[in-house]
């Protein structure tokens, strides 16, 4: 699976954030987008996932002219729910009214109950969280929550993964661990990923880095 993105223009009514950005990410590879805050890094991810209207509303509504191809198929016109693009944010955003296991189950596609639960158990094991399924997500540590968030994104079987500074809120030791955890999973599943960060230590593949600057 290959992710091809071409953003002709991205910006609000008042100003253009960026123009003519194109990149291709091969399966199992991670492209790192870098740039100062306000350069539109996160908006690029939102444009790919089709969530621009969720993230910015009101006066600064952002618009993008974007073409997104996943494995040769144009998904740019599809609603987010049908794009098959997973998202990971700075905060784990675990649903507070669901247990850890229910959070994961929410992501598993429909199917026989036992199979879905088996996938949840498998994911918990992969995240070294066996026995934590019944827990309130608020009782997990920061690193545990981050792992659950990744497993939840992966359980939806995304065809590509977008990472919006997912390491920036973790402390240094955890950050290295979790970064390796995320990258390993992406490579193991052979899906393309785009990572947005302002920290050079986060760079996944030095040969796949793009720098974003102010376009206007």
């Amino acid at each position: 699976m290959t992710l091809q993105v071409h953003i002709t223009q991205l910006g609000s009514a008042q100003r253009v954030l960026l123009k003519d950005l194109r990149f291709t990410v091969q399966p199992g590879h991670i492209l790192t987008l870098m740039g100062p805050s306000g350069s539109g890094k996160s908006s690029v991810l939102a444009a790919i996932a089709g969530t621009l209207n969720h993230v910015a509303e009101g006066a600064q509504a952002l618009r993008a002219q974007v073409s997104v191809q996943l494995n040769g198929q144009d998904i740019g016109a599809l609603p987010t729910a049908q794009r098959g693009v997973g998202l990971l944010f700075q905060d784990p955003l675990l649903f507070a009214h669901l247990t850890v296991a229910e959070n994961l189950l929410f992501a598993v596609p429909p199917g026989p109950r036992t199979q879905r639960w088996a996938q949840v158990q498998q994911a918990l094991t992969e995240a070294s969280l066996q026995g934590y399924g019944e827990r309130d997500p608020a009782t997990l540590s920061g690193g545990q929550r981050a792992r659950v968030a990744l497993m939840r994104a992966l359980l939806a079987q995304p065809k590509a993964l977008l990472l919006d500074e997912p390491f920036s809120k973790l402390d240094a030791a955890l950050r290295d661990q979790f970064r390796a955890f995320v990258f390993d999973h992406i490579r193991a599943r052979q899906i393309p990923a785009v990572l947005v960060t302002h920290d050079t230590a986060d760079i996944a593949e030095p040969e796949h880095v793009m720098q974003l600057n102010h376009a206007g």
Partner: protein, 550 residues
């Protein structure tokens, strides 16, 4: 914006904005009647009534404002705000009329206070002929209004202080001011209070509006001859003579002008005190006595006094509702009887009407608010807000005139549907006001996340967003329920006297001598909202997880 959203936003806008604007327009239109204004000018009662209105409204607002500020200062400095707030819901849920009735039973010449002191201290064997409740100076009304508005102001201040970002910033600014040598108290007044009070302008305006235009409370505990202008207007509105009705509407217009003038006056006074430079005179204030730290985290005594007053009022209503023969100066009734409650049960239609209206109007308002906040563009919402708040700032006597005209127009006067319309128009602003901070503050990334997991919008709403907002949804519905239960003027006026609610019964009975029946209805008026809030707390309680320690 998609066509779907545009269509539904427009529909919702017309559904709420249309009737509200129509009511406001009809109310204002009724003011264009020169003869009515002339009659009002000629009426010998009008001017003294207006003077009483200004006196009671302004005095109670100033008192409530500064007492609340003092409580907040102590609560903030001693970090006991959290505990202080725990006592608030019961006070907030107490309807105005019930509080007034309970206060009358405490303060009246034959009330509990004098019974407790007689005859051993006062020597009274009979109730003295004192005008302690419907006193001509409006003191009873001022006490009642102040006691009722302090919890409201505290609660609105608390909603500001409970926002994490705001609280942390103010805490650190407060600490910073102390490093500059200001005492904790002084640091609050110089740094935190100016920022906090600026955000309390709209709640203050609501308090001012209520104090100047209240009818039900003034009927119970306010002066009688002359009464306040709002009560006078209400009496004129109920007159059989149309010319007198118009005079009542004009009096409502005078109240609106009085409110406007008072608001401007308040603003001017605030501006003057800000420009005096008093806040920047550099006076540091006395250092707190050493060893004071052990006393910190204590709730201020004055708050206990307020809570005690509410407790006494509720006890007076509870005891009064089962009291049989109760001669002065006995502290407790000689006989206990369930007669009053039996009579309440016999006319359970009254309770049924109250419940039905409250449930229906709260449900309607909640459904509308959720749909509106979910669908309407933010700019529309901002534009609609002033219209929605019109029922809150327009004098109630004027508002019911507009409501009545609209009901006449739609042939709904004296009908349940008309009552529902009237109640919903009052309930809607409160529900939207209490729901919107949480609803609009909901992290938009959850929607993106849920969609990225492959779920459609409905599934997101039902499985994620609404469950996560359960508490705010339940609380705002309960607020709507309580507002509906407390409605007095719309129920009587739009219902054309054909419908009785717990509140109309309590207020109407308060003028008579049936202490036990009055207490029973006033008690019910209090119990129904409290039950609603308890139910909301239960429904909105965060989920309990197995095996977690928190």
């Amino acid at each position: 914006m998609t066509a779907f959203r545009l269509f539904w936003s427009t529909t919702l806008l017309l559904l709420a904005g249309g009737p509200l604007l129509a009511v406001a327009g009809l109310a204002l239109a009724s003011l264009f009647d020169a003869t009515a204004w002339h009659a009002l000018w000629q009426d010998p009662h009008a001017l003294p009534a207006l003077a009483l209105t200004l006196w009671t409204g302004l005095a109670s607002t100033v008192l409530a404002w500064w007492l609340s500020a003092a409580l907040l200062a102590q609560g903030f400095v001693r970090q006991s705000l959290g505990r202080l707030l725990r006592g608030l819901p019961v006070m907030l849920a107490t309807p105005h009329a019930a509080l007034a009735i309970g206060l009358v039973f405490l303060l009246a010449p034959s009330g509990w206070v004098l019974r407790a002191l007689s005859p051993w201290l006062t020597g009274f064997e009979f109730p003295p002929p004192w005008p302690t409740t419907q006193d001509p100076w409006g003191l009873g009304l001022i006490v009642a209004l102040t006691a009722k508005e302090i919890p409201f102001l505290l609660w609105t201040a608390a909603t500001q202080l409970q926002r994490d970002d705001v609280r942390q910033r103010w805490r650190s600014e407060h600490a910073l001011a102390q490093t500059l040598g200001y005492s904790p108290q002084r640091a609050f007044w110089r740094v935190v209070w100016p920022q906090l009070s600026a955000r309390l302008w709209w709640p203050l305006l609501a308090v001012l509006a209520y104090g100047l235009t209240v009818v039900d409370m003034a009927l119970v505990i306010g002066p009688a001859s002359p009464p306040t202008l709002a009560v006078l207007a209400w009496q004129w509105l109920q007159d059989a003579d149309l010319a007198v009705n118009a005079q009542g509407a004009a009096a409502g217009g005078v109240l609106a002008l009085a409110l406007l003038a008072a608001a401007l006056l308040w603003r001017a006074a605030q501006g003057l005190s800000a420009r005096s430079g008093h806040a920047l005179n550099g006076v540091r204030g006395a250092a707190p006595p050493p060893g004071n730290t052990s006393k910190s985290e204590r709730v201020p005594v004055s708050f206990h006094l307020l809570a005690g007053l509410y407790g006494a009022v509720l006890l007076a209503l509870a005891v009064g509702s089962v009291a049989g023969v109760w001669p002065f100066p006995r502290v407790w009734p000689e006989a206990v009887t369930g007669q009053a409650w039996q009579r309440v049960w016999d006319s359970r239609d009254t309770v049924g009407t109250t419940l039905g209206l409250a449930l229906a109007s709260a449900a309607l308002a909640l459904a509308w608010s959720v749909a509106w906040l979910e669908l309407a563009p933010r700019r529309w919402d901002t534009a609609l807000r002033p219209v929605l708040y019109v029922p809150l700032v327009l004098p109630a006597v004027l508002w019911v005139v507009g409501l009545y005209h609209l009901a006449l127009w739609w042939r709904l006067e004296g009908q349940w549907l008309g009552l529902l319309l009237a109640h919903t128009s009052m309930v809607l602003p409160y529900v939207l006001l209490t729901l919107s901070p949480a609803y609009l503050g909901f992290d938009a990334r959850y929607a993106a996340l849920s969609a990225s997991l492959g779920h459609g919008p409905w599934r997101f709403l039902w499985r994620i967003k609404w469950p996560l907002l359960r508490r705010a949804l339940a609380a705002s519905a309960a607020v709507g329920f309580a507002v509906s239960v407390a409605q007095y003027l719309p129920t009587l006026y739009v219902g054309a006297g054909r419908f009785n609610s717990v509140t109309t019964e309590a207020v109407n009975l308060a003028a008579g001598a049936q202490r036990s029946l009055t207490s029973a209805y006033a008690g019910l008026q209090f119990v129904l909202p409290v039950l609603a809030f308890a139910l909301a707390a239960w429904l909105g309680a965060p989920r309990r997880f197995k095996g977690s320690r928190s």
